[in-house]
């Protein structure tokens, strides 16, 4: 296996982008990444696209071919592969692209992630997200995605004394970061009170504990590390990649408050990178709900199980804290176009490691981690990147 570097990134603005189609979004992100990377386009060996549910959101399957076509590569007949793992589709697409370059089969691949969620009404978007749950044994009985995370929150509060205020602080922190990100859906700081006073989506999670419904796309260009310097002066190496699965239904797991898929994916990535959690300078974690970020920092080994709430409260994960988490604003404030999320997380880490993150730049960031979760934790993907 050879080393793989990221030589270019591109993201669209995230949000309710009424005038942009699925096709517009993915081609915009792709074009930005290609320009950023300095490749001409002829070098591309394959395309990988993460998309959760184009079939339900825009009525279109055959997404691999569509993306090759709308990005202008159909006449070159470049192979294009769609990857799906619910909300972890993007992270998983990066991992598949990584494999293809590491194996030596491909030298340059483009990995995109995209979701166009606002072409359907809100309730249909919610129902589509719930297809990442166990349809027959969770969703059938009236459980929603926020509801499943809310059950984790109830248990975390019960077992570890985590409070709604601590959950709210995740949203407050991520909104503060999002305010500094030009691509974020929400660019306004919020207060703990406004999070606590928002109507409930699913007790104990209020509407402001939830990530929004978003449109958006992100793309990264992967290249064999030995050739990276031919294109860019600031390549970022993928030093660790891990992925793991768990039961589709939350109720199938022994410990409601741990995503074993994250624990295993992270251990795989740490081992691969030969580093430990303490070596991570900056992380993008999957905060689809505030409780999810608390779970993530515990399962990734940043803090002890049960200490997530207190860690948020003590501000170690803020932009100027010792372990900055979700500098982009996270899914919570940057937005969560599900298929795009995992790729956008990688793009943010690349920007941080290259020193291109402007106002939200973490000082001396050398090693960064991206953590992407499928629905309620049945799949997780973790990547660790290092500036070369």
């Amino acid at each position: 296996m050879r080393d793989v570097a990221i030589i270019g990134v591109g993201v669209t603005k995230f949000g309710e982008l009424w005038d942009k189609s699925f096709r517009n979004l993915i081609s915009e992100a792709g074009a930005k990444a290609i320009i950023d990377s300095g490749i001409s386009g002829k070098e591309i060996d394959a395309l990988y696209v993460g998309s959760m549910s184009a079939g339900r959101f825009v009525g279109q399957e055959h997404v691999g071919a569509l993306v090759a076509d709308c990005s202008g590569f159909s006449h070159m007949h470049i192979p294009s592969i769609r990857v799906e793992s619910a909300c972890a589709s993007g992270g998983l697409a990066v991992r598949q692209g990584y494999f293809s370059v590491a194996s030596g089969m491909n030298d340059v691949v483009v990995v995109g992630g995209v979701e166009k969620m606002t072409d359907v009404i809100g309730s249909e978007a919610t129902d589509t997200l719930a297809t990442g749950l166990d349809q027959e044994w969770e969703a059938f009985f009236g459980a929603t995605l926020p509801g499943i995370y809310a059950m984790i929150a109830t248990k975390h509060m019960h077992d570890y004394g985590t409070t709604r205020e601590q959950l709210a602080q995740v949203a407050v922190k991520n909104h503060a970061n999002g305010a500094l990100n030009p691509y974020a859906q929400f660019k306004r700081p919020i207060s703990i009170e406004s999070v606590l006073n928002a109507p409930f989506a699913a007790y104990p999670l209020g509407m402001l504990d939830c990530s929004p419904v978003s449109d958006g796309a992100a793309t990264v260009i992967l290249c064999a590390a030995e050739k990276a310097k031919d294109y860019t002066s600031k390549p970022v190496k993928i030093i660790g990649s891990g992925q793991a699965s768990d039961t589709l239904a939350l109720h199938g797991r022994k410990d409601i408050c741990t995503f074993e898929s994250t624990v295993h994916a992270a251990n795989m990535a740490y081992k691969h990178a030969k580093i430990e959690p303490k070596n991570i300078d900056v992380a993008e974690v999957h905060d689809c709900f505030t409780i999810a970020e608390i779970l993530a920092i515990e399962d990734l080994g940043f803090v002890k199980k049960g200490d997530g709430g207190k860690a948020i409260e003590s501000k170690i994960t803020t932009l100027d804290g010792e372990k900055p988490v979700n500098t982009s604003g996270g899914l919570k404030a940057k937005g969560h176009p599900v298929g795009a999320t995992g790729v956008a997380q990688i793009a943010e880490i690349v920007m941080q490691l290259r020193g291109d993150a402007d106002q939200r730049q973490v000082k001396d960031a050398n090693i960064g981690l991206a953590h992407n979760v499928g629905a309620s934790g049945a799949s997780s993907v973790v990547h660790i990147l290092e500036a070369i």
Binding site: W137, F141, G142, G147, I148, F200, A202, Y203, M207, H251
Partner: protein, 139 residues
């Protein structure tokens, strides 16, 4: 769902009406919904999985109260959903009914009840199954 799209629901009637699970003949682990084979015993369990009717009682492991509900459940919101551990061990996700929202608690004892889960609009089929209610204290 569309009118007449019933096989997916019909197939699960034994599980949803009567909590029919199965048990591995090799290690005695109990599964709900039933599994084709035991993930721990694998080939030893093949052809050796015995059907078992689970009891109606269990306890709440965790819960939420759904305020923003999917369309088929909108009329019921806000409603509690819980993970329930049945006395035999398997866990299920189900609605809690016949209980005040503030009385739903982790650890509370519950028993299954037969209810309408969802229906395919005004024209399609009605799907029934288990929900849980606070355990009735009897005699």
């Amino acid at each position: 769902m569309a009118d007449g799209a019933v096989p997916r629901f019909w197939r699960e009637i034994p599980q949803r009406y009567n909590l029919i699970g199965n048990q591995c003949g090799a290690c005695d682990r109990i599964y709900f919904p039933p599994r084709e084979s035991c993930p721990y015993c694998r080939r030893k369990s093949m052809g050796n999985m015995k059907e078992i009717k689970l009891g109606s009682k269990g306890k709440v492991v965790t819960y939420t109260i759904i305020y923003v509900a999917p369309e088929p459940f909108e009329g019921q919101a806000p409603y509690p959903i819980a993970i329930i551990e049945l006395d035999e061990g398997p866990r299920v996700t189900a609605q809690i009914v016949d209980c005040e929202l503030e009385d739903v608690k982790i650890g509370m004892r519950v028993q299954s009840t037969f209810r309408k889960i969802q229906e395919d609009g005004y024209i399609g089929a009605i799907h029934y199954g288990y929900k849980f209610k606070p355990l009735e204290v009897k005699g």
